[in-house]
């Protein structure tokens, strides 16, 4: 049923889920798609962690070359799944929310490119290795959440 309103009564104040935006990069409280994406990602990452722990145990018992491939397969598959779900989530948003998400993503990852290049060209002198890169990726995800919150301030 359509909700009717009094012309003189003010609309309730516009609230944005700041914590969800900064921590998860989603509009968590506002729609079911955000909550579903957060839940799917959390379950996938939890399963990956369980898989990793199982691999640690397995690696002590089995000394076969294929065992060393497992962590890469587990985490690559997990993040591929999270990425696909993320794209589905963004596609499900309405036009303003989608444009905010894509803006935050483009700003973050364009700014992240120099950081990635820095680690590539300077890892020899700093002693950093390419194993450092996943950590940069996770840091970028947090940056994306902050950028999203900053972009949303225009509409708050």
């Amino acid at each position: 049923m359509t909700e009717r309103t009094n012309i003189d009564s003010p609309e309730p104040q516009m609230k944005w889920p700041w914590a969800s935006m900064v921590l998860f990069g989603t509009f968590g409280r506002l729609d079911t798609a955000s909550r579903r994406y957060q839940k799917q990602s959390a379950i996938a990452i939890a399963l990956a962690m369980v898989g990793f722990i199982a691999w640690v145990v397995l690696a002590t018992l089995v000394r076969e070359p294929w065992v060393s491939w497992l962590p890469g397969i587990i985490f690559t598959a997990t993040w591929a799944y999270v990425a696909v779900q993320g794209w589905k989530y963004i596609s499900s948003l309405d036009e303003m929310s989608r444009s905010l998400q894509l803006e935050a993503m483009s700003i973050t990852y364009l700014a992240g490119m120099p950081v990635f290049l820095f680690t590539f060209f300077f890892y020899g002198t700093t002693g950093w290795s390419w194993q450092f890169l996943p950590l940069i990726y996770f840091a970028l995800e947090l940056v994306r959440g902050v950028v999203l919150a900053l972009r949303v301030r225009r509409y708050a």
Partner: protein, 73 residues
Amino acid sequence: MKNRLHILRAERRLSQAALADLLGVSRQTINAVETGKYDPSLPLAFKIAALFERRIEDVFEPDVVVIGRRAAG
């Protein structure tokens, strides 16, 4: 871009949330359009106009209308 969305919505006695549901967008989008902070896409603008049975120019009005001249020659 200026618009008459708030007036049209009030005439129909619709809340922002109700209008958002009818248009399939978030309440945040309706609020941002009403306050002139967000310019809707052309499909959404047409959808809004159709919902209120108005022409698009009766709902939305550009801040400045610039009519370009055709280059001579």
